[in-house]
């Protein structure tokens, strides 16, 4: 009984965290599913978003402006990866790793802005002293400052806006670039521009997610983005596995990535309450994502195996 009560008590927090990571999952969906690129920049840009948001807020910038700046910082991070990939011809996955590595130093300096040695790995911010948009403190409040309310409102705006963007000529060009780059160029689409734009938007959403996460948890930390890409992929894939039969519309597909993130955090809470050490979380996440990524592959193999068998039987019958 105690287990269930404590699990139940942990639910609002898990859902809030899941929703915040859901923004990040939409970012990952843009690169991984729409552009067909695996972008590892996100491990760095998540923290960049958090660092920019916290340092600006601490220095007296209104929190709304700080969040917008975090978004812009994400755009820039994506721009760097995009240029490394398109202008310099570096494979996308490597371009992302390079930016991510560089961002580690950049993030330390952002958080260390104004300090003696100009570098800091962790930056706390108190909701008592600053007027933050959301905080885990109020996650059980029945009021408008409850982060769950704020996050749901955010998605009511974010998902339709993203949906509409991908319905525009520009958005269609992005989708065509991911679906068939060769065809896109033959139809006059600058695929390099599409890729850079997609990477920028994706990382901007990831940085936005980082900005909200740092406010929610009350600090930004140099390690907050470690393994973020895997969590983002987990959200996208869990969402697809569970909802793909029902959700066919593009807006609903975005929603399923968000719900995937929420489910991921609920499951994490569950296994933590069962007694799993937080140290083992990343191992568990990696194993789960590897499994989900492998399933379609093995399904395909199994399918063709069956076909071969069936074909064999048929020829046997004919003979």
């Amino acid at each position: 009984m105690g287990f269930i009560t404590s699990l139940f008590n942990a639910m609002p927090g898990a859902v809030a965290q899941g929703l915040i990571w859901g923004i990040m999952a939409i970012g990952v969906y843009i690169t991984y599913r729409i552009l067909d690129l695996a972008d590892l920049t996100v491990d760095g840009s998540l923290c960049t978003g958090g660092a920019v948001c916290v340092i600006l807020t601490l220095n007296g910038v209104p929190v709304g402006v700080a969040i917008v700046c975090a978004f812009i910082a994400g755009l820039l991070a994506g721009l760097v990866t995009g240029l490394l990939h398109t202008v310099c011809g570096i494979p996308a996955i490597l371009a992302g790793i390079l930016t991510q590595l560089a961002l580690y130093s950049v993030n330390l300096h952002i958080m260390g802005f104004g300090t003696a040695n100009g570098s800091k790995a962790n930056l706390p911010i108190s909701v008592d002293k600053y007027d933050l948009l959301l905080s885990s403190r109020f996650v059980r409040d029945l009021s408008l400052r409850n982060p769950l309310v704020i996050l749901v409102l955010l998605f009511i705006v974010l998902i339709p806006v993203t949906y509409c963007f991908f319905g525009t000529e520009l958005g269609c060009a992005l989708r065509a670039t991911g679906a068939n780059g060769n065809m896109a160029r033959a139809q006059g689409i600058n695929t390099n521009f599409s890729k850079v734009l997609g990477l920028m938007l994706s990382n901007a959403l990831v940085a936005l997610s980082g900005a909200l996460l740092s406010q929610y948890q009350g600090f930004s930390d140099i390690n907050m983005g470690r393994g973020a890409i895997v969590i983002g992929l987990a959200a996208v894939i869990i969402g697809e596995v569970i909802f793909s039969k029902v959700f066919r519309n593009f807006a609903l597909k975005l929603l399923s990535a968000v719900l995937g993130a929420v489910i991921y955090y609920i499951v994490i809470q569950f296994v933590l309450k069962l007694g799993l050490s937080t140290d083992d979380l990343k191992l568990l996440t990696a194993v789960v994502v590897a499994l989900f990524l492998a399933i379609p592959h093995f399904k395909g193999k199994l399918g063709s195996g069956k076909m071969k068998k069936a074909a064999g039987k048929e020829t046997g019958a004919n003979a």
């Binding site: 319905g167 525009t168 000529e169 065509a176 068939n180 160029r185 139809q187 006059g188 600058n190």
Partner: protein, 264 residues
């Protein structure tokens, strides 16, 4: 309208694998020309089309369309002038996008793509009409993902996409080679119809000498990056396969065995 001036393209220059794919090639097409291109493997046919389309940069020479030098333009900018259909039916369409979305992408070729809607209600009528002309029953499948269509259907759709926004030049790169004979004939007939109705200047590569003779008003034969034969008008109309074969062998020497195979 299309002019290739002394175009040279060398793949892997300076290595043991260096290959002169286009060797000081010059060619001028007149408005409304429908040119069939034949030649053995490695003669430079596809390289010539890809050079025109801007898939790679040429090493020397220049390419002009209607007097405008497009040699330095990237592939996506040249698309404004060109309609292209590829040998591989999978290459010309986006499989995960709907049929109408593919057509909408093609209708906006050469146009600035901004925040206007990617497809409008008015266009759907146009798409339905154009698809009806293909006589493949595709007009009822506007919302189907193109990946679900057969190779022949996809090739027909690519052909429609290439001509939907009338290009200055249509490039058909062995676009029926990967299809079964019946579908190939259908797609070829469709190509003929489109070219004859719209009078788009067209370059069509084919491996089939019979098709090369039967279609178009002009025929060119390539070998080793050169044009070795250029026949048009009445002379082309009276051309027979054996004439062509003789000329083919005279120009390419030991390739005789190959084309006998092609002709079956």
């Amino acid at each position: 309208m299309l002019e290739l001036r002394n175009v040279t393209k060398i793949f892997n220059p300076g290595t043991i694998n260096a290959k002169v794919a286009l060797d000081d090639l010059s060619l001028t097409l007149n408005d409304g020309d429908f040119v069939t291109v034949i030649g053995g493997n490695g003669a430079g046919k596809s390289t010539m089309l890809n050079a025109i389309a801007g898939v790679f940069r040429i090493d020397s020479g220049s390419i002009l369309i209607d007097g405008e030098d497009i040699t330095g333009l990237p592939e996506y900018r040249r698309a404004a002038f060109l309609g292209r259909v590829f040998q591989d039916p999978m290459m010309g369409t986006a499989p995960t996008m709907e049929l109408e979305e593919n057509l909408a992408l093609a209708l906006r070729r050469g146009k600035h793509r901004g925040f206007g809607w990617g497809i409008s209600r008015k266009e759907r009528e146009l798409y339905r009409e154009e698809l009806k002309k293909l006589e493949l029953g595709l007009e009822t499948r506007l919302h189907s993902k193109v990946g679900l269509l057969s190779g022949g259907q996809r090739q027909a759709v690519t052909l429609l996409m290439a001509s939907l926004k009338k290009p200055k030049l249509l490039l058909l790169d062995e676009h029926t080679a990967a299809l079964d004979p019946k579908t190939a004939a259908k797609v070829l007939e469709l190509s003929d119809k489109i070219v004859n109705e719209t009078h788009i200047t067209t370059l069509m590569i084919t491996h089939n000498m019979r098709d090369a003779i039967a279609h178009g008003n002009r025929l060119i034969m390539m070998n080793a990056g050169h044009i070795v034969l250029d026949i048009s008008g009445e002379e082309k109309k009276s051309l027979t396969i054996s004439d062509l074969l003789e000329k083919f062998n005279a120009s390419s020497g030991n390739a005789e065995a190959d084309d006998k195979l092609v002709l079956g």
